[in-house]
């Protein structure tokens, strides 16, 4: 099993004829993703990588069976594109847009909650189940990072994900599914909301959180563990342990936290429920071995 996406998930690409959309659709197909069609307003009748392009999501879902939508849409049009996908009943949406306005992000998340949909992102590389499929842009060809295995990974970062995951793989593990929650202050979906999927997945033995200072997402995961809703081993790597107070370091997430969200608080929360927090990326693998009894 995988989380969110596997080789069978039928994926629509919104913004498929753009430069980025075209390039990454090619790669998504290349790593096994079942891309069924694309959407670009005004471009119906064209084909990308052999897939039909439609004017609108509504027209696409009339013709094709679609389960998930991948958005390669600029930040200012992302709210509209997410609403369009939700309106057609799509329940899994990934947006990689970096720069979604805060007030749009609030409305996007609210709409997703209302529809019972998962909107992943923005400001993320997306979602990947190595060896099966991806939605987004991961350098899946780097084998020392994107190796299939039994560890679930959730992250707020891009480059740091490569750094930490490389260490997980170096320690002899691989990845079931990696979910890029994204670095925005209001992500469409939060860490804790993905934990039940990892909990239910027989092929995931443990979860690694790649977080940072700011916000409360790591604390929410600790709460899930305390409430018994997540019982598998949890290891976190958190950036910003030595960040000076008052500086806006890392992603934009810290601004809305209102005094909460120091790394110290996060470490206490995770350790208080039996989780481990690695001081350095390379310790993540050691903690996984310890918690998994290997």
């Amino acid at each position: 099993m995988s989380i969110f996406i596997d080789e069978n998930t039928k994926v629509l690409v919104q913004g498929i004829t753009g430069k980025e959309g075209r390039f990454w659709t090619d790669h998504m197909i290349g790593c096994g993703t079942n891309v069924v069609a694309g959407v670009t307003p005004g471009k119906e009748g064209q084909k990308v990588e052999g897939r039909e392009v439609y004017h609108s999501v509504r027209r696409a879902v009339e013709q094709e069976d679609v389960e998930a939508s991948m958005l390669f849409v600029p930040p200012r049009f992302t709210k509209d594109a997410v609403f369009e996908a939700l309106d057609s009943g799509i329940k899994k949406i990934v947006t990689v847009a970096d720069g979604i306005p805060l007030h749009d992000a609030i409305q996007i998340r609210k709409a997703a909650l209302l529809e019972g949909a998962l909107v992943i992102g923005g400001n993320t590389s997306g979602v990947i189940s190595p060896g099966k499929a991806m939605m987004g842009f991961f350098p899946y060809w780097i084998e020392r990072v994107y190796k299939p295995g039994r560890i679930g990974i959730m992250t707020r970062s891009g480059s740091l994900t490569n750094e930490v995951t490389a260490m997980v793989v170096k320690a002899g593990f691989g990845v079931t599914s990696l979910i890029g929650i994204g670095g925005d202050p209001v992500p469409g979906t939060r860490f804790a909301e993905m934990l039940p999927f990892y909990e239910a997945d027989d092929e995931t033995d443990a979860v690694v959180l790649i977080g940072e200072l700011g916000g409360s997402m790591e604390e929410e995961c600790a709460q899930m563990k305390r409430d018994g809703l997540f019982t598998k081993p949890l290891v976190a790597f958190l950036g910003g342990r030595t960040a000076p107070e008052g500086k806006r370091m890392g992603h934009a997430g810290a601004i809305v936290s209102g005094g909460k969200g120091s790394v110290k608080d996060k470490i206490e929360a995770i350790e208080s429920v039996g989780g481990k927090v690695a001081e350095r990326p390379r310790f993540v693998g050691d903690y996984l071995k310890e918690l998994l009894g290997q």
């Binding site: 740091l160 490569n162 750094e163 950036g239 960040a243 370091m249």
Partner: protein, 374 residues
């Protein structure tokens, strides 16, 4: 983008929120005209973006012209580089309230925060007396309803005319919050005057940078930044923070750069500047290195692990920057990600010694900063 108090108050007035009579001045010469308008006593408020202006002595209550001139001259000459002073009528204050609006990322709602103890910092209050903080959540699609304004007012213990005036201010503040794509809009303190008026004593407004395309009311000028480097990098869209240590960071990705910052501290090193040139900036190596070289750092540390930000393009950028800028200090590189083999060939051809492990690169930079061999 954080605005100055006088700009926040301009926005308040545009939206119909009462503010004390005031005039912005840029020199002592203009004080006469301002005080003619406000009368005495008045308040001299230095327009700086830092918090805690009162404690730092940057806000002065003055009784007459002679005192005003003396204190105004002191403020303009102060260490804090005060360029503008808001001269404001002193209001007869009966009580003070804290009022702000921000977002709640969990509930996906707008969040009003209020407290009957105005003037204090809300972060402090959240720790010392969280039970005093009033929260009201607003659906972003339906907007604020009058009952929600009344909820806040009654919890604050307001009644009668003051309750009505407060509700009106809150409604207008919410309109301004939405219209300006605010991350935060805050009135602290909100005065209840002796005449039972409700008046904004201070103003904070922070506009979401991602909404620039539909806001763009305020040009980014030098006065919004602490240092030249922070200003120049902001114009380039390059995230930058100024420190005063030995190692200039030129890294990619917010998370990875923050992690490298931590690792340097663990290894006993110090950071001169935090700089990200990843994401959309990955072709700006020359500009990024220029910013690093403005610091008195002893070494530049480049750490990347990119996807779209291709390693070979970044390596080419580093080599071009070295050729153009001829840096006077060693450069340690650890460039990985898409096309990393090509990147390492480019770096080797240019005479650099590419490293592959972040911690090894950090240790190397710390050792060079401590006087070790490059």
């Amino acid at each position: 983008m954080k605005l100055f108090e006088y700009q926040a108050k301009e926005t308040f007035r545009k939206n119909g929120i009462p503010t004390p009579q005031s005039m912005l001045i840029t020199s002592v010469d203009e004080l006469g005209a301002a005080s003619d308008m406000t009368g005495f006593p008045l308040v001299l408020k230095s327009q700086l973006l830092m918090g805690g202006r009162g404690k730092a002595g940057l806000i002065r209550f003055v009784k007459d012209r002679a005192q005003a001139e003396e204190e105004c001259a002191q403020l303009f000459a102060s260490y804090y580089n005060v360029k503008k002073i808001l001269v404001e009528q002193a209001v007869h204050i009966k009580s003070e309230i804290y009022l702000s609006i921000t977002v709640d990322p969990v509930a996906a709602k707008h969040m009003i925060i209020a407290c009957a103890d105005g003037g204090v910092e809300i972060e402090t209050l959240a720790e010392t007396a969280p039970e005093k903080i009033i929260r009201e959540y607003i659906d972003p699609d339906s907007g604020i309803s009058p009952y929600q304004m009344r909820n806040v007012a009654f919890q604050l213990g307001l009644n009668g005319d003051v309750m009505k005036k407060f509700s009106s201010v809150l409604g207008k503040l919410y309109t301004a919050f939405k219209a300006n794509d605010a991350e935060l809009i805050e009135i602290n303190p909100l005065f209840i005057t002796g005449d039972e008026d409700v008046v904004a004593g201070d103003g904070k407004l922070s506009i979401d940078d991602n909404s620039d395309f539909r806001q763009n009311t305020y040009e980014k000028t030098r006065e919004y930044y602490d240092s030249d480097a922070e200003y120049e990098s902001a114009l380039e869209g390059i995230p930058y923070l100024q420190f005063d240590g030995d190692i200039s960071l030129m890294c990619a990705g917010a998370g990875l750069t923050t992690t490298v910052y931590d690792l340097i501290n663990y290894e006993g090193g110090t950071v001169a500047n935090y700089l990200e040139f990843g994401g959309p900036n990955y072709k700006k190596a020359v500009r990024a290195m220029e910013l690093c070289l403005k610091n008195e750092s002893k070494v530049i540390l480049v750490v990347t692990f990119g996807t779209i930000a291709r390693a070979d393009v970044m390596a080419e950028g580093i080599v071009e920057a070295i050729n153009r800028l001829k840096p006077d200090r060693p450069i340690v590189t650890c460039i990985r990600g898409t096309n990393e083999e090509e990147a390492n060939r480019i770096l080797k051809d240019a005479g650099l010694v590419p490293l592959y492990d972040t911690e090894e690169a950090v240790r190397k930079a710390v050792s060079i900063a401590a006087g070790g061999d490059a």
